[in-house]
């Protein structure tokens, strides 16, 4: 039985945790009903992708092996994958947290770029300060800038009921122009050969861990944040209210939850996390704000957010899987000459098949 508005297969759908009232089948059976279709979708998507690669005249086995294994072949690959994982997982939160309240934030790349600009602004202006002060200030500035940018969409939504999908998307394009101005007029680095700001001070750089292929400490920061978010969404009143609003807007309203304020708050929190992604990339990877640093993290964040099916626990894991694919895409293009866009097509296929698998599962379950 699906409702008119959003069926159970919807984006904020039931978390893949066994519901307490489902006494009949055991927890294990329930997990199996979640995991098996999920794995089947992923495998089928890769099979179809491989078929497409073969039809295009490349060697599918070599190409897919490059996509799947190159992250694990070298420690350099692993570090690069983790560096990609950080913005992907943060952009996925930027999408998934507003989604928990039933709102779509398609503006993670704008929020990320604004966060990068905020972080770079602090890191450049106060470049002489010691690290204990400057590094936290850089990251906080990034969070605030991202939150502020999403705050515009939140304000338009709560005060003027402007559709948040459109406002967040349109703000992305405004942000592209804004950072172009910052990178070419405000703090331009003429020697960079590409629109970019001058480097931030040494105190604004995240400390590196390990030797040779060194990993920046932002990875650990985000790992801690991921645990915090999973706990907060599960066990705090605000987290409960957010999930309640997403599951049943009317029931929450009747029970006195301030739904529109909560939706606005979800967008602002999401924007803050998107901003943090930008600030960490400035402080950890690039050392400056540069054009194009948002890469395709918006799309990847949405894919991860949708693939996690509303589970904040599953989200970082799914994000790691996508980071592996994204790092492998580059290797695939080098090894077998398959264009990198192929990986985006496979990711979209996983998403579509995942949606379809819900239908198949429901049908099989009710047929038993």
């Amino acid at each position: 039985m699906s409702t008119m508005q959003k069926s159970e297969t919807g984006p904020g759908g039931s978390p893949p945790v066994a519901k307490p009232e489902a006494r009949g089948p055991g927890i294990l059976t329930n997990i199996a009903w979640t995991v098996v279709p999920y794995v089947a979708s992923v495998v089928l998507a890769f099979f179809l992708g491989g078929l497409l690669i073969q039809l295009m005249g490349y060697n599918a086995v070599d190409a897919l092996r490059a996509v799947l294994t190159s992250s694990f072949d070298t420690s350099f690959g692993m570090v690069e994958t983790l560096h990609k994982w950080v913005p992907i997982v943060l952009c996925a939160y930027a999408f998934a947290i507003p989604l928990a309240t039933g709102k779509f934030n398609i503006g993670a790349e704008g929020q990320m770029l604004l966060g990068a600009t905020g972080g770079a602004a602090v890191g450049i202006t106060f470049s002489d300060l010691p690290m204990v002060v400057l590094l936290p200030a850089t990251l906080v500035a990034g969070v605030l800038a991202g939150a502020l940018w999403a705050g515009i969409a939140a304000l338009l939504l709560v005060r003027f009921r402007v559709n948040e999908i459109l406002s967040t998307v349109l703000l992305n394009f405004v942000s592209f122009k804004l950072i172009d101005w910052v990178a070419t007029r405000v703090w331009p680095d003429a020697g960079a050969g590409h629109p970019a700001t001058t480097p931030v001070g040494d105190g604004a750089r995240l400390p590196l861990l390990g030797s040779a292929p060194a990993m920046h400490s932002g990875v650990l920061l985000v790992l801690a944040l991921a645990i915090f978010i999973a706990v907060a969404m599960r066990f705090t009143p605000t987290g409960f209210e957010m999930r309640a609003v997403g599951d049943n807007l009317r029931a929450s309203m009747v029970n006195g939850v301030r739904t529109s304020r909560l939706a606005g708050a979800g967008l602002v929190i999401g924007g803050g996390l998107g901003g943090l992604a930008g600030a960490i990339d400035v402080a950890g990877v690039h050392g400056r704000m540069l054009e194009g640093m948002q890469s395709n993290f918006l799309i990847l964040g949405i894919i991860v957010g949708l693939m996690a099916r509303g589970s904040m626990l599953a989200l970082p894991v799914v994000a790691f899987g996508i980071a592996v694919l994204e790092y492998g895409a580059g290797t695939m293009q080098l090894v077998s000459a398959v264009p990198v866009e192929m990986v985006l097509v496979i990711e979209a296929l996983i998403l579509l098949l995942l949606l379809l698998s819900d239908l198949v599962r429901d049908r099989l379950r009710s047929a038993r």
Binding site: M1, S2, T3, M4, Q5, K6, S7, T9, G10, P11, M56, F104, L156, F160, R161, V162, N163, I165, L166, S167, V169, L170, L171, N172, F173, V174, K177, L178, D180, W181, T184, R185, I299, I302, I303, L306, P339, E341, M342, V343, L344, V345, E347, A348, L349, L351, L352, L355, L356, L359
Partner: protein, 307 residues
């Protein structure tokens, strides 16, 4: 001024074609968000076919068919399988964006100088073409422009003055009531989405044809999302969309020409205009812009909930 209008009109065609396609499916309640990707795919496919076959018209037609195919997938997954329209739309947006770049890379590869196709020839309407100011812009145009004008009129006539159009609109307003009167909801939604998405693809395919004749990745540059905004602002009405498209096209050209205008403000702030202006207009749009009551909602005839 006349030169400015000559630049605006082709952009008007792009916005009009894509937005008419969007509102056609919107009136039956299917909220299409694949524009940004479908326009890119249309541009890529249209370009490649024109390049290989040497005919722009064939390119535009194949682009329409490819767009229609995406529309069919969207319609099937939302009407028959009742999957969330927005989520399916996003997934198709990703897939089509990837496919657009993939196809171009597969067929053309990486080249030093991008290949070009012929731009469209322009036809002059006698006498009217000599009018000052608007003559060049409105009456010396390629056939796609005249097609867009006729399409807009046909859409208006179809939706407002035919019984099939009334059926379409009733499906978007209240599918349950429409269903009870014997109107086939699935049928209406499928057709409108197939044709509508095809038109969106043609809008994308037209972008390289008036001036440059080359395809580049990212050439849609947010216009697909602006098209959705245009549909909202036009209240999902064909003739309002025609007027709105002129505004969007003017903003677009202003943004493109920002660097050579030299107005004393950094050109980036003028390039923001299309997006900022759209956001501002949307704040006030609430007063006039209404939308189909069941836009974005799937219909399940077995559901007991009353829409």
């Amino acid at each position: 001024m006349s030169e400015f209008l000559v630049l605006v009109v082709p952009m008007w065609v792009v916005f009009t074609l894509a937005a008419q396609g969007t509102i056609l499916s919107g009136r039956t309640g299917v909220f299409n968000v694949t524009q940004e990707g479908v326009m890119a795919l249309g541009a890529s496919v249209g370009f490649l076919v024109s390049y290989k076959m040497g005919s722009n018209l064939v390119g535009l037609l194949i682009a329409f068919l490819v767009g229609a195919l995406v529309g069919l997938v969207l319609a099937y997954m939302t009407t028959q399988l009742r999957l969330d329209q927005f989520v399916v739309g996003l997934a198709l947006f990703f897939a089509t964006t990837g496919a657009a770049g993939l196809l171009y890379r597969q067929v053309i590869g990486v080249t030093m100088t991008p290949p070009r196709v012929d731009t469209l020839p322009k036809f002059e309407i006698p006498l009217l073409g000599d009018l000052p100011l608007i003559g060049d812009a409105l009456f010396v145009q390629d056939y796609v422009f005249y097609f867009a004008v006729i399409l807009s009129l046909v859409m208006f006539w179809f939706l407002q003055h035919t019984s099939a159009g009334l059926d379409f609109r009733s499906v978007g307003e209240n599918p349950k009531a429409a269903d009870s009167l014997g109107i086939n909801v699935t049928w209406a939604r499928t057709w409108s989405t197939v044709v509508g998405t095809g038109l969106v693809a043609v809008g994308g395919a037209y972008i390289p044809l008036p001036f440059t004749g080359i395809y580049t990745d990212g050439m849609i540059a947010g216009r697909g999302w602006l098209v959705i905004a245009l549909a909202f602002l036009g209240g999902w009405r064909p003739l309002y969309v025609v007027a709105g498209a002129a505004f969007f096209a003017a903003m677009d050209v202003l943004g493109q020409k920002a660097q050579v205008l030299g107005l004393g403000i950094p050109h980036q702030f003028i390039e923001m205009l299309p997006f900022v202006a759209t956001l501002l207009v949307m704040v006030f749009a609430l007063r006039w812009a209404r939308q189909p009551a069941h836009l974005g909602m799937n219909y399940d005839r077995e559901s007991r909930l009353v829409g």
